[in-house]
């Protein structure tokens, strides 16, 4: 773009005292809040991106529609969470800036949601394991003392409840379906299970928000998730994987702290391509 003066933009210096832009009021727990909003928004964004890869390739027309619908819900949620993250952060970044202009290390999503789609069984199992967590998280967030969080969570909760209903139902039907569908669902469960522990780890940011009464600790969501998962796996005639080494829960990393799998970089390379190739263009 040639840098022509934009005559429609009011001159900032006439609006604010000379040279002194008013600093945004510092929020209590700002860093922890931004972290939590990025984690929640990035989960929605990355999983939405993954689901949209199925568009036109699903095993039945009804599934094409259902997955696109979930992807749409998740992209919509991510716009709200990331929009709020940018506002709280106070550096003028929009939801789009956060989605398209951060590198992998600045993403805060769980390792689980960046797992590749593989077969439809993996996609559904990943969805179920996440939905069961997501619903508990949003249930807690609906009761947050921060009204901005509570408001977004109330809307997202309804969608997550429907997503869980659907993914749990399909896990049951395919687990307790044909021999092949059972085996595929069991294999998907085995492949994904070691990425579930990260959902319930607590770190300093989590503790700061818990102390402030904004959000309960992630670890406190575990019992309800365990119950849902055990019940659905049982009904699906799938074997619970039991105690398995969990990825991303040591001090060395995990998606919540920006240490991702190799998969995320490729996902972002695709997702961010246009914004990176044509910096500053408007679409």
């Amino acid at each position: 773009m040639p840098s022509l003066p934009d005559v429609m933009t009011p001159a900032l210096e006439t609006l604010a005292p000379a040279g002194q832009p008013a600093p945004a009021p510092q929020e209590a727990n700002r860093d922890a809040l931004v972290e939590w909003l990025l984690r929640t928004g990035d989960n929605a964004l990355i999983l939405g991106q993954r689901l949209s890869e199925w568009c036109g390739h699903a095993p039945a027309l009804e599934e094409d529609i259902a997955l696109a619908n979930q992807a749409l819900d998740l992209i919509g949620q991510c716009q709200l969470w990331l929009g709020l993250a940018g506002a709280v952060e106070g550096r003028g970044r929009t939801a789009d800036d956060l989605a398209f202009l951060r590198d992998a290390g600045a993403f805060r999503n769980l390792l689980l949601v960046e797992r590749p789609n593989r077969d439809f069984g993996h996609t559904l199992m990943r969805q179920f394991l996440f939905d069961a967590f997501h619903l508990e998280l949003l249930e807690a967030a609906r009761a947050s003392s921060d009204p901005r969080i509570a408001e977004i969570a109330a809307k997202a909760w309804k969608e997550a409840a429907y997503h869980l209903e659907r993914s749990a139902d399909l896990v049951v039907r395919l687990g307790d379906g044909s021999a092949e569908s059972h085996d595929r669902m069991q294999a998907a469960l085995a492949a994904l299970w070691s990425f579930t522990g990260e959902m319930f780890t607590d770190d300093d940011h989590d503790r700061a928000l818990a102390d402030a009464g904004v959000m309960p600790l992630p670890s406190s969501l575990r019992p309800a998730w365990d119950r849902t998962v055990a019940q659905v796996l049982d009904e699906a005639t799938l074997t619970h994987p039991g105690e398995v080494w969990q990825q991303g829960i040591t001090d060395m990393g995990g998606g919540k702290r920006g240490v991702h799998s190799e998969h995320l970089g490729h996902l972002l390379a695709q997702m961010q391509f246009l914004q990176r190739a044509y910096p500053g263009a408007r679409w």
Binding site: M1, L45, Q49, S52, E53, C55, G56, H57, A58, P59, A60, L61, E62, E63, D64, I65, A68, N69, A71, L72, I75, G76, C78, Q79, L82, A95, D96, A99, F100, D119, F120, G121, V172, R173, L174, D176, G177, S178, E180, S181, H182, R184, Q270, M271, F273, L274, Q275, Y278, A281, R282, W283
Partner: protein, 328 residues
């Protein structure tokens, strides 16, 4: 169009019609709707199955060229709009397969015919989407051409087809608007964006004109389809309307339609324009377009890879039924 080369079964000339056939034709002439359980000539039924089936296949294959850019949509809002649009197309496929089912053909049978190459889908979806501007051009031109064809089909003689068209048309205008909106943004953007928009128009112009099917003089049996009111206008009429509507829209964008012979003809009150290269059209229909192998291959792969999923659900339904019976 989405059904652009439908072979029409021969009908019976009016003088040779049986009483039943004559009564049927008279109902159509009075603009009465024919409903599923009612008597209809076999040729009418077969032609409709071909036409609705081809239309349905076009909707689902049509997910692919735009699906190609969902992952790369440049903003979250554009991603959401494109997802919603492609999801609509899948929904259109669903309505149309249901309409075809009322004529006694199952969705699986129709898909089998698509996968084996026995049935076709619109030639337009065998062209690649190479840049983001193609999302604009597809919405503007391809959905625009679809609307041109489908609005009259809301009055088609077969009730379930007409009702499917009414639902579909409501959504198509949103599709066209989002496409044109992308074009407006691109044309008001950087020189590179504007160039992408022009390039997209260059590549999609003639393939869009082909969507209406061959010229009237080469359309076989099209009068019979018009007598049955399953085709409401001739191919050339619709193509002319499309050009007349689209040229001013291109001018508004500041884009050049890639046709040196395009000019306004005061006498006919429409544009004169060049015909697309029909040998290319027949080559694409025959399977030799730039993306035929990818498009059909992707659909076949989705179907085959999904077999275990569909079988698994059936197996579960059988088990559940058996358990219910055992419990009684």
């Amino acid at each position: 169009m989405y059904a652009q080369l439908v072979t029409t079964e021969g009908g019976t000339p009016r003088e040779g019609m049986s009483d039943q056939e004559r009564a049927f034709q008279e109902r159509i002439d009075r603009n009465e709707k024919i409903e599923p359980k009612e008597w209809m000539p076999e040729g009418y039924r077969k032609t409709l199955i071909r036409q609705i089936g081809q239309h349905a296949h076009s909707e689902i294959v049509g997910q692919l060229p735009e699906g190609n850019w969902i992952g790369r949509a440049p903003t979250l809002e554009r991603k959401a709009i494109l997802l919603a649009k492609v999801q609509d197309e899948a929904g259109h496929g669903l309505y149309l397969y249901s309409a075809a089912e009322t004529l006694g053909v199952s969705r699986d049978e129709l898909l089998e015919a698509l996968h084996s190459g026995k049935m076709k889908y619109s030639s337009i979806f065998n062209y690649p989407t190479l840049t983001w501007a193609d999302m604009g051009a597809v919405g503007w031109l391809v959905d625009g051409a679809a609307i041109m064809n489908q609005v009259p089909l809301q009055r088609t003689s077969y009730g379930p087809y007409a009702r499917a068209m009414i639902r579909i048309c409501k959504e198509e205008s949103f599709h066209q608007r989002q496409g044109y909106d992308i074009m407006m943004k691109m044309c008001a953007g950087t020189p590179e964006q504007k160039a992408m928009a022009q390039d997209a128009l260059n590549r999609f112009w003639y393939p869009s004109l082909m969507m209406f099917g061959p010229s009237d003089k080469d359309s076989v049996h099209s009068e019979q389809s018009m007598a049955w009111k399953i085709k409401m206008n001739t191919n050339d009429e619709l193509r002319q309307r499309f050009v007349d509507q689209t040229v001013p829209q291109a001018e508004y964008l500041g884009l050049t339609v890639p046709d040196p012979d395009l000019r306004w003809n005061e006498d006919k009150g429409g544009y004169d324009f060049s015909e697309p290269d029909w040998s290319e059209f027949y080559a694409v229909i025959a399977g030799n377009g730039p993306c035929n192998a990818e498009r059909l291959g992707a659909r076949v792969k989705a179907w085959e890879d999904g077999a275990w999923f569909r079988d698994g659900l059936m197996a579960h339904a059988d088990k559940a039924r058996a358990r219910r019976v055992a419990a009684e």
